[in-house]
Amino acid sequence: MNLNNPILVKEMRTRMRGKRAFLVLTGYVTLLSLIIGMIYIIFKNNAPTSLLNNAGKILTPVLVYVQMGLICLMAPTFSASAISSEREQETFDLLIASLAKPSTILFGKVGAALSYLVLTLFGSLPLIALTYSLGGVDLGDIAKVYLVMFVAGVTYCSLSFLWSTLIRRGVLAQLASLFAVIFLVAAMPALALFFSALASNFSSGPSSGFLNLVFLLLRTNPFAAIASLIPGIPTPPGVWLPDVPVWASQVLFYLVLTALSLYLSLKRLERVRKWM
C-alpha cells in the first residue's frame, strides 16, 4: 500500500485528529480490561489452586473472543460510510473530477479504515501480555489468533467499503455492512447446527460426507478458527483435509472474500460515471 496516497494521508489527518480515535481506543481497551478483570476475580475466588497456575488458559480465550466480537461490531463502521459520506457531504464530485484513480480511492479509504483496526489490535496487546503471563498459553497460538482477528477485520472493512459504494446513504450502508458481517459470522454456524440436527434424525447416523459439510461450514468462521487454537480441542476424525488447520482455512476463505470485495468495489468505482 502506497503511504503517500493523498486520500490515506487526508483520512489519517481527519480520523486521528478528532476525539473519535481517542474515544474508540479508550472505550475498547476499557471494555476489554473490565471484562477480563471481572472474570479474573470470579475465577480467583472459585477455581481450585491447581487451575490458578494456568489461569491464562481461561482468560486468554475469553479476551480473544470478546475482542473478536468487538471487531465484528466495529470494523464495518470503519469503512461503511467511506464513499457514502463523501456523497452526503458533497465532496464526491470534487474527488472524482480530480486525477485520483479508482485504485487510489479504494486503497486510501480502506487503508485508513485498517489503521483504526490496527490501532485497536495494538491497544489490546498489553492485556494479552498480562493473560499470557498467567501461563497455559502458547505464544505461537496467540500470534495465529491475532492473524485471524486481523484478517477478519480486513475482510469486514473491505466488505463494508463495497456496501458504501453501493448505497447512497451512510446510515443504510452501515446497517447493510453490519448485517453482512452478522450473516458471515452467524449464518455458517447456524447452518452447521441445522445440518447436525438433521443428521441426528438419521437412523443409521449421519454419513461422513454430511459431517464433512458441517465441518466445512465451521471452517469459514473466525470464532471456530479461534476455538480450534484452544489447547485440548481436537479435530474430529475422518474430516476432509485433516492436515489443514481450521484457522488456516478460515483465513484463506476470508482472504478470498476480501479480494472479491475489493475487486467488486474497484469495478464499481471505475464505472462511477454511470451511477453518479
Binding site: 458533497e90 465532496t91 464530485d93 472524482i96 486525477l99
Partner: protein, 317 residues
C-alpha cells in the same frame, strides 16, 4: 486523439442529450467555445446548465452526442480532460476537520503535484484568492464566502487551462459576490478559457465575451454578445420613469401594439419597443395625452437581461 495546440475550439459539444429516466435535462445541445473565451451560460434553475457542466467535468456521460475539451473526448479520455479542467460545482462540501493548507495540499496531491510544486501552488492560489491569512485556520471556521473562495483556490491548483464554474457566486452576500466576480475577472485576464454559469444575468454581463442561453434543456442562442445583439436588430428598450403609481403607464403601454413587453421596477418601466425608431415620439405624446406623469423617457440599448428575455420568450410553457 487531440491536437491540443492547433485547435482554437477548446470546448465542444455536438448534439448532446442527457436523459434522467425519460426526461431530457439537456436536449440536442451543440456548442463551441474558443480558447481564451469567457462564456456565460445563462438559464433559469433547472434549465440544464449544471447537467451540461457535470458532463464536461467528466462526472456524467451523455445519453447521446459527444463532448470534448481541448480535443479530448470526455468519454474515452477522461483523465486527459481532468488534467485540463478546473471544476467548481454549484453546491459543494468541504472537509471541515482539515486546515486550509491541508485541504489544498490534499487536492494538489490528487492532481499529482510534487511536494515542492504543491507548496508553491498553495501559496499562489491563497494569494490570488486573498486567503493567505487563513492558511492555518480550520476550514470549518471559514465564512460561506471564504469557503467559496477556497473552492475556487482548489480549482486553480493545477493551473488548468479551462475553468468550469457552476454558479460560483450563488448563496453569497453582496460583498462576497463582488469578491468572487473580481476573482473571475482576474482569471479572465490570465487568459483562461472560462465557462461560467449563472441565473443572475448582471453577474455575467461585465466580463463575458460570449454567452449561451439555455432553457428547458435546449440551447436557444449562443455566440458573442455583440453578434447576438446584432441579430436582435430593431430591438429597442425604452426606459420610462413615472411620477407616482406606474399602473396607468403600464395600462397605456399594454394598449400599444408596438410595445411587446414591459417590466416594472418601482417607478421605472422598461418597455420593449418594436416600432420604427422615428415613431418613438408618437408614443411619448400618447402617454402624455393619457395623463401619465413622466419624469424620464429614454431609449436604451438592449442589455444581457433584455437579450435573455427576448430569446426565451415563449420558449417555456
Amino acid at each position: 486523439m487531440s491536437n491540443n495546440d492547433q485547435t482554437t475550439s477548446m470546448i465542444k459539444l455536438e448534439n448532446v442529450t442527457k436523459y434522467y429516466k425519460n426526461f431530457p435535462a439537456v436536449n440536442d445541445v451543440s456548442l463551441e467555445i474558443n480558447r481564451g473565451e469567457v462564456f456565460g451560460f445563462i438559464g433559469p434553475n433547472g434549465a440544464g446548465k449544471t447537467t451540461t457542466i457535470k458532463m464536461l467535468a467528466t462526472l456524467m456521460l451523455p445519453s447521446e452526442g459527444k463532448l470534448s475539451i481541448g480535443g479530448y473526448d470526455i468519454e474515452r479520455e477522461p483523465y486527459e480532460v481532468r488534467r485540463l479542467i478546473g471544476y467548481m460545482p454549484d453546491s459543494f462540501g468541504v472537509y471541515e476537520d482539515l486546515l486550509v493548507w491541508e485541504y489544498l495540499d490534499y487536492f494538489a496531491a490528487l492532481y499529482k503535484l510534487g511536494p515542492a510544486q504543491r507548496k508553491r501552488a498553495i501559496s499562489d492560489v491563497l494569494e490570488l484568492t486573498d486567503l493567505s491569512i487563513k492558511r492555518d485556520s480550520q476550514v470549518m471556521s471559514l465564512s460561506r464566502g471564504m469557503k467559496q473562495r477556497l473552492c475556487l483556490a482548489k480549482t486553480l491548483l493545477h493551473d488548468p487551462e479551462v475553468l468550469l464554474l457552476d454558479e460560483p457566486a450563488s448563496g453569497l452576500d453582496p460583498h462576497a459576490r463582488i469578491e468572487i466576480r473580481e476573482l473571475i475577472r482576474e482569471l479572465c485576464r490570465m487568459g483562461k478559457t472560462v465557462l461560467v454559469s449563472s441565473h443572475i444575468l448582471t453577474e455575467l454581463a461585465d466580463f463575458c465575451t460570449s454567452i449561451g442561453i439555455i432553457e428547458a434543456g435546449r440551447l436557444l442562442a449562443a455566440g458573442r454578445i455583440d453578434d447576438i445583439t446584432a441579430n436582435l436588430a430593431g430591438h429597442v428598450v425604452l426606459e420610462i420613469t413615472v411620477k407616482g403609481d406606474p399602473a396607468l403607464a403600464l395600462e397605456s403601454l399594454a394598449e400599444r401594439p408596438e410595445i411587446s413587453r414591459t417590466t416594472c421596477d418601482g417607478r421605472i418601466i422598461r418597455a420593449e419597443y418594436t416600432g420604427g425608431s422615428e415613431d418613438v415620439d408618437e408614443l411619448l405624446e400618447y402617454l402624455i395625452r393619457r395623463g401619465v406623469r413622466l419624469l424620464g423617457f429614454t431609449r436604451t440599448e438592449a442589455d444581457l437581461e433584455d437579450i435573455f428575455l427576448k430569446i426565451t420568450r415563449g420558449a417555456v410553457a
